[in-house]
């Protein structure tokens, strides 16, 4: 599959927006202006951008910690994101849940719970639910290298395989789970080696190259849409910052960071946009500038919004009450 200009530019926009928001969040954290921790997907923006570019209106996403780009790709605005991080009353979780734990029913994006792996079966079930109702739906379930060690990962992938549910299990192998390197996490060569054990296809992709990913996965997604079954994807990428901003990630060798810094997904996407004639440097700069001001405005607007009212604490524990 060859990507068209619209998709190419859309991916670039998603990545730029994601980066701009997260840079702001990082700054806010170090200024002491964020309540709680800050966790980003810095350097991993391509996976969410590429999968969102392949997804249709009824598709389901269950993003993990590092997948702000998936949220943005599915339609989350900078405003939604800041409202969430600032715990605003009108944000996606109304201040009840924190940071990356938000979603959007309209966008088919689920708000993750923290227990790693636990959202994969939710993704599988949501796709089953939509398909039961006759909708053409495919799922995109994100998980880290560390998250593949959970029982939930195994149960859910096997369940999807047995029930023929079209879900892309997107493993973002970013070399570390918090401080734990992959050699203390698993012993197979590549995590896609697990695919055979579920009787499904496994595909390795360069997780920093959105264009290549979209081109490689496009036909696969179309195929599982028609012939429903899960597929396991392992995207090689790198967490370019600490687990959270409190973490100096001194346990990561500098050479490894340097190697991936040289392959920054946004730099690469800009180069590809130029090469394909979708946007030259000036056009990309202009886009980045526009996005930056959307992000700046959104932050300011969210900051001015109200916080949740303590009197609402016990409302909505149950639906329908």
């Amino acid at each position: 599959m060859t990507l068209d200009k619209d998709k190419g530019l859309e991916m670039l926009r998603v990545m730029l927006m994601t980066r701009a928001i997260e840079e702001r969040l990082i700054r806010l954290y170090h200024q002491g202006k964020i309540y709680g921790g800050v966790y980003t997907g810095y350097g991993q923006e391509a996976t969410g951008a590429a999968t969102a570019a392949l997804a249709g209106p009824n598709d389901i996403f269950t993003p993990c910690i590092r997948n702000l780009s998936a949220h943005i790709g599915r339609g989350a605005s900078a405003m939604d994101v800041f409202r969430q991080w600032l715990g605003r009353k009108d944000g996606p979780t109304g201040g009840r849940d924190s940071n990356v734990h938000f979603g959007s029913a309209e966008n088919g994006v689920y708000a993750m719970i923290s227990h790693l792996g636990a959202m994969i079966p939710v993704c599988v079930g949501a796709v089953m639910g939509r398909r039961y109702r006759g909708l053409d739906s495919v799922g995109f379930a994100f998980i880290g290298d560390g998250g593949t060690s959970t029982g939930d990962f195994h149960e859910a992938v096997n369940f999807a395989a047995v029930r023929d549910v079209p879900v892309v299990i997107m493993i973002e192998n970013n070399h570390y789970a918090y401080s734990t390197p992959t050699r203390e996490q698993y012993r197979c060569k590549h995590l896609v080696d697990r695919a055979a054990g579920y009787g499904i296809e496994g595909i390795r992709v360069d997780g920093n190259d959105a264009v290549a990913m979209a081109e490689a996965l496009g036909p696969v997604v179309e195929d599982i849409r028609r012939n429903p079954r899960p597929v396991l994807v392992e995207a090689d990428t790198m967490r370019m910052r600490g687990h959270g901003e409190h973490d100096d990630f001194s346990y990561v060798p500098k050479e490894l960071l340097d190697a991936y810094a040289a392959r920054d997904p946004i730099r690469l996407a800009r180069k590809q946009a130029a090469d394909h004639g979708w946007a030259d440097d000036a056009a990309a700069d202009a886009l980045a500038g526009e996005i930056q001001s959307v992000v700046d405005d959104a932050y300011k607007a969210a900051l001015a919004e109200s916080r949740p009212d303590a009197s609402t604490l016990t409302l909505g524990v149950y639906a329908g009450d």
Partner: protein
């Protein structure tokens, strides 16, 4: 009116809702052609077809997690756990995922988890557990526990229609041990309302599940033998529980015995005793009493299990002590 066992009541409730609403679907281990370990869903595959009734791998977390996904997309999945005990492999899905989603996101999660529980038949430590104490401590869950065939049906109908995750505890001992005449139509029994099974003014027993029947028996014996009138209340829904009925009963009777089949510490009886102590202190003529299993795994041998599990004899004795306090 038709005669129905407890198990038939469950089956009828499930069947009625599946006929009513095609978004009700059912899955679990061995529940399709085989009809489930207890044969509750026998015939369902034929009637409702493989899209609505299917087997799953032995993967409780995937079962419950996928039910959450389906429920948030318009279905009303009913998941059968083969035994409640095995639900403990997926507590994070029940508590953190199913029960907290609405509070966090405003999206309802209408799932019903059918959990066969309780002992009395030599099931041993892993096929006899009573887990309501755990589930009632999880914010966002509803917990239902019928004692009679009609309630089994009507509460299941309500559980399935409820927009929240409901733990539906079904007592295995009662499956074939209780029968009653019930109306043909499967009307819902509202959640959150206790049932007064027997009236009386000398003491009240607060109980649920299999212990309702043991309590009624004990109450009848103290009536026959000593002329006491003992009210018996079947809580039916444990979360949210029916505070009003409990408090009115305490006001009327002034003596309270709480009976349940599961462990004592932090069990549901502790919650009821705490409620009474907080809100009906001035109405009591004697200390609240709990008659529960001890904090011990459910033992296998009949001698041990009999000693473990409350029954009419033990309840009668506790009642007499309470009445003569």
């Amino acid at each position: 009116m038709i005669e129905s066992t407890y198990l038939e009541g469950i089956r009828a409730g499930l069947q009625a809702e599946m006929r009513e609403d095609e978004n009700v679907i059912l899955f679990g281990q061995d529940i399709a052609a085989f009809g489930g370990a207890f044969k509750v869903t026998l015939g369902f595959l034929d009637e409702f077809g493989p899209k609505r009734v299917f087997n799953t791998p032995i993967s409780e977390s995937a079962m419950i997690g996928s039910a959450i996904g389906m429920a948030t997309q318009g279905l009303r999945p009913v998941v059968e756990l083969q035994f409640a005990d095995f639900g403990l492999t997926a507590v994070h899905q029940i508590m953190n995922n199913a029960a907290m989603t609405h509070y966090r996101t405003g999206i309802p999660v209408p799932i019903t988890l059918r959990m066969p529980c309780g002992g009395g038949f030599g099931g041993g430590p892993f096929h006899s557990e009573e887990l309501e104490g755990l589930f009632c401590n999880m914010p966002g869950l509803k917990v239902v526990y019928p004692a009679f065939p009609g309630d089994a049906r009507g509460l299941l109908v309500s559980a399935i229609r409820d927009p929240n995750p409901v733990i539906y505890l079904e007592n295995k001992y009662l499956y074939r041990h209780v029968k009653e005449m019930i109306p043909r139509k499967a009307d819902p029994v509202p959640l959150g309302i206790a049932r007064i099974c027997r009236t009386g003014r000398d003491a009240v027993i607060l109980t649920y599940g299999a212990m309702v029947h043991e309590s009624i028996q004990a109450a009848e014996r103290v009536a026959a033998d000593a002329g006491y009138g003992v009210m018996v209340i079947d809580m039916r829904t444990l979360k949210p529980y029916d505070e009003d009925t409990v408090l009115s009963a305490v006001a009327a009777c002034n003596r309270v015995l709480i009976v349940h089949e599961g462990c004592r510490t932090c069990g549901f009886g502790a919650e009821l005793a705490a409620l009474v102590a907080e809100k009906a202190f001035h109405l009591l003529d004697a200390p609240v009493r709990r008659m529960t299993a001890p904090d011990v795994p459910v033992p296998f041998a009949p001698e041990l299990e009999k000693a473990y599990r409350p029954d009419a004899d033990k309840i009668e004795q506790a009642l007499m002590e309470l009445l003569e306090f």
